[in-house]
C-alpha cells in the first residue's frame, strides 16, 4: 500500500483512526486544524481573484500563491443574460480552475473561507488556517436585505440571478416554463453589480415575449429615473421594439413582495406576476464585515483608489466589494486583479509601480441580435481629488456590436483560463 492515500500520509491516517475510535461524535471538532503558509492568499475565484492569482504567477513563477474558492468551477456572470434568454449554453460560461493549478502553478483550495484574522495574518477555512504575507480579497457581493425582510422570502421563490450558479439555473427554468401572464423585473438604486445587466435582461425578456408571441406583459420597475447607463440606447429599444409587450416604470420603489399571492407592492402600485425577477440592493460580502474591513453602516470597503489596498497594509480588496471609481463589473475586477498583481510583485522586489488609471468597457444586448456599448475612461483631478469619468457610449443598436460583445467576453475568458 502506498504511504500516501488521498493526500493523507500513513501517520495522519493512523492518528485519524485513533481519533475516530475514541471520540466519533466529536469528529468534526477534533479533526486536526491544518496550518499552511503562502506568500499571497487570494480569496474568491471570480474575475478579480482568478486574474490576480494568474498574473501573480505569470510575472513571478516562484511566488507561492493560494486561491481559495468555494465553488468547484467558475461560472461567468457577464453573458449570463445570454444564457437566460437562450442565446448561449450554460457550458459556454463555465470553466475549470484546473488550468490555474496545472499551467500556472497556483495552489487551488476548493473550500469555504470562514473568516479572516487580519491581526494574525491568517485566513480561516473549514479545513484549517492559511497564513499569508499579502492578502487579496475578491469575495464579491451579498444581497443587502437585512432591513427589508420581505426580500428574504423573495430570494427563494424569485431568484435574482446576480450571483453565479444555481440562481441562474432556476430562473432559466422559470423562464422556459413560462407560457403567459405578467412578468415583473425590479431594479434597485446603484451601486449594484454590472450596471447594464438589469436593463439588458429586461430587453431580452421582452424580446423573448415578442419572439415567442406569448400572451404576456412585462412590468419593468426601476428605482431610478432612467437607465443608469446607456440610457438613450435602452430607452429607444424599449420604446421602438417593446412598447406593446412591456411597460417601463421609473422612480418606483419596491415596498413589499407577497410570494404566496405573487404580488409586488411598489410606490407606483401593486403588480401581480407569474415570474418575478426582483433584484435586491447589494453590499460587499459579509466576510469583509466580519473581518472588520467595513465600518458601521458602510456597504463597500474603502480602498486606496490607485492601489486597491485597504487601511491594513498589504491587504487588498478588489472587484465588486470595493468602493472604487470603477463600476462593479467582471471587466473592472479583471483590470483591478492585473493591477494588484503588478503592485504585489513590485513590492516583493522592493520596487514601485507607475500610477495607472483603469478603463471600463461594457456591452448590453437590447434584442436577441443587437447590442449597444459604453466605454469609460477616468482621469484624476488633483484639485477636487476625484476621478472624473469620460463616457463614450454607442447607443445605436447594431448586430456588429452584439458580435463585439461576444468577442469581448470570449477574450476575457481566454485571458482568465489559458
Amino acid at each position: 500500500m502506498s504511504k500516501q492515500w488521498l493526500g493523507v500520509n500513513r501517520r495522519e491516517l493512523l492518528s485519524g483512526v485513533v481519533a475516530v475510535g475514541l471520540s466519533a461524535p466529536l469528529l468534526a471538532y477534533s479533526a486536526p486544524q491544518k496550518r499552511q503558509k503562502a506568500q499571497v492568499v487570494v480569496v474568491g475565484g471570480g474575475y478579480g481573484g482568478v486574474t490576480t492569482a494568474k498574473y501573480l504567477k505569470r510575472e513571478n513563477p516562484n511566488l507561492d500563491v493560494v486561491l481559495i474558492e468555494e465553488r468547484p468551477f467558475f461560472m461567468s456572470c457577464p453573458m449570463s443574460n445570454h444564457f437566460l434568454a437562450g442565446l448561449m449554453e450554460l457550458s459556454s460560461l463555465c470553466f475549470s480552475y484546473n488550468v490555474l493549478e496545472v499551467k500556472h502553478g497556483v495552489r487551488m483550495i476548493n473550500d469555504k473561507v470562514l473568516g479572516v484574522e487580519l491581526d494574525k495574518k491568517v485566513v480561516r477555512t473549514s479545513s484549517g488556517y492559511i497564513a499569508y504575507d499579502y492578502l487579496v480579497l475578491s469575495p464579491g457581493i451579498d444581497y443587502d436585505i437585512e432591513d427589508k425582510p420581505f426580500y428574504r422570502d423573495s430570494l427563494i421563490y424569485n431568484p435574482p440571478a446576480f450571483k453565479p450558479g444555481s440562481e441562474h439555473i432556476y430562473l432559466k427554468r422559470l423562464i422556459e416554463d413560462f407560457e403567459g401572464g405578467d412578468i415583473v423585473i425590479s431594479v434597485p438604486t446603484p451601486p449594484f453589480r454590472c450596471p447594464p445587466a438589469p436593463y439588458e435582461r429586461a430587453a431580452l425578456i421582452a424580446s423573448m415575449i415578442k419572439r415567442n408571441k406569448l400572451k404576456a406583459h412585462m412590468y419593468f420597475i426601476d428605482a431610478n429615473e432612467r437607465p443608469i447607463i446607456n440610457s438613450e440606447g435602452f430607452l429607444s429599444a424599449y420604446y421602438d421594439l417593446y412598447r406593446d409587450v412591456a411597460t417601463y416604470i421609473t422612480s418606483a420603489q419596491v415596498r413589499d413582495i407577497d410570494v404566496q399571492k405573487k404580488v409586488v407592492r411598489t410606490s407606483h402600485g401593486d403588480f401581480k406576476y407569474e415570474i418575478a425577477n426582483i433584484i435586491p440592493p447589494m453590499k460587499a460580502s459579509k466576510l469583509l464585515e466580519e473581518a472588520g474591513l467595513l465600518k458601521r453602516g458602510q456597504k463597500w470597503v474603502e480602498v486606496n483608489p490607485l492601489t486597491f489596498e485597504t487601511s491594513v497594509k498589504n491587504v487588498f480588496v478588489i472587484g465588486d466589494a470595493s468602493q472604487s471609481y470603477l463600476p462593479k463589473s467582471g471587466y473592472a475586477a479583471h483590470s483591478e486583479g492585473k493591477l494588484v498583481a503588478k503592485i504585489i510583485n513590485a513590492r516583493i522586489k522592493g520596487k514601485e509601480v507607475k500610477e495607472e488609471y483603469l478603463q471600463m468597457i461594457c456591452y448590453a444586448m437590447v434584442s436577441d441580435k443587437e447590442a449597444i456599448m459604453a466605454e469609460t475612461a477616468f482621469r484624476y483631478d488633483t484639485v477636487s481629488k476625484r476621478f472624473i469619468p469620460t463616457y463614450r457610449e454607442d447607443n445605436q443598436r447594431k448586430e456588429s456590436t452584439a458580435k463585439r460583445y461576444e468577442e469581448w467576453a470570449r477574450g476575457l475568458w481566454r485571458d482568465l483560463f489559458s
Binding site: R392, D394, S400, K403, E407, L412
Partner: protein, 239 residues
C-alpha cells in the same frame, strides 16, 4: 537599448543588408536581445501566384497574409508616406529597434494581426481588429491611421512599430520583418513579443476545424498569398 546602441543597430543592419540581404536576419537576431525570431523566408505573392510588387500594394488598404505559420494572420499596409525606424519600449523595460517601412518610399509596414491584448484575430467570418485609414476614423475613438481591436478597444500605431496608443494591451503588435529584393517582397521573421503560443493554445478547436489539424495550422510557410482583408473576411467589424 540606449541611444548609442540604437544608432549602432541602425548602422549595422543598414550596412549588412546593403552588402548581403541574407545577413539581415542574422544581424537583426544578434542586435535585438531575443526580440527577433527568424522564420522561413517566404515570398509574398498575389492570388494568381505571381510575386507581389510594390505597385500592387495600394496606399491605405488593409491586406492580409499568413506568416510564419499557416494560420497566423498578418496585416500589410502601405501607409502612403515614409515611415522611419523607431525604438519600441516595452512595459517591462525591454526595448527593440523597429526597422520602419520598406519599399521605394519606405511606406510599407506589416504586423501580426493577432491582438496583443486577448488574441482576437481575423477569421473568415469576422475581423474585430482592423486598420483605420486617415479618411475613415473610428466612430468610437475618433482616431484614424491606427490599428484598432473593437473587442476591448486596444489601439496600436502602425507608424511606430505597432506601439500601444491607448486601451488595455500590455504589448505592441509584433511586427513582421519584410525584405525587398529585386522588386519582390519577402517575410523573414517576427520582431517583438509574438502571441503565437497563446493563439495556438486558445483557438485549438477553431483551427482544427479550419485547417484539419493543429499541426497543419502550425506549419511554417515559404509563400504567402496577400489579399485585401474584406476578400478574406465576411464581416469586417469596424467601430
Amino acid at each position: 537599448m540606449d541611444r548609442r546602441g540604437f544608432i549602432k543597430t541602425c548602422g549595422t543592419v543598414a550596412v549588412a543588408s546593403f552588402i548581403d540581404p541574407s545577413l539581415f536576419s542574422q544581424v537583426l537576431a544578434q542586435q535585438q536581445d531575443g526580440m527577433f525570431q527568424a522564420y522561413k523566408k517566404a515570398l509574398l505573392v498575389k492570388s494568381d501566384g505571381t510575386p507581389l510588387k510594390e505597385e500592387d500594394i495600394k496606399p491605405q488598404v488593409n491586406y492580409i497574409f499568413f506568416y510564419p505559420h499557416n494560420a497566423t494572420p498578418c496585416y500589410l499596409i502601405n501607409l502612403g508616406e515614409t515611415v522611419p525606424p523607431a525604438e519600441i519600449k516595452l512595459k517591462d523595460g525591454k526595448s527593440y529597434r523597429w526597422m520602419g517601412g520598406v519599399g521605394a518610399k519606405k511606406s510599407i509596414v506589416s504586423y501580426s494581426a493577432i491582438c496583443a491584448h486577448q488574441w482576437s484575430y481575423p477569421t473568415p467570418q469576422y475581423s474585430f481588429i482592423n486598420y483605420y485609414p486617415p479618411d475613415k476614423p473610428s466612430e468610437t475613438t475618433k482616431k484614424a491611421g491606427i490599428i484598432q481591436c473593437c473587442a476591448h478597444l486596444a489601439l496600436y500605431d502602425p507608424k511606430q512599430g505597432g506601439s500601444v496608443i491607448d486601451g488595455p494591451a500590455d504589448f505592441p503588435l509584433a511586427s513582421i520583418v519584410l525584405q525587398e529584393e529585386g522588386g519582390r517582397f519577402f517575410a523573414t521573421g517576427v520582431l517583438g513579443k509574438d502571441q503565437f503560443q497563446q493563439f495556438f493554445d486558445n483557438f485549438r478547436t477553431e483551427l482544427r476545424q479550419q485547417y484539419g489539424s493543429t499541426a497543419k495550422a502550425r506549419e511554417l510557410v515559404d509563400k504567402c498569398i496577400v489579399m485585401e482583408v474584406d476578400k478574406y473576411v465576411q464581416a469586417v467589424v469596424r467601430c
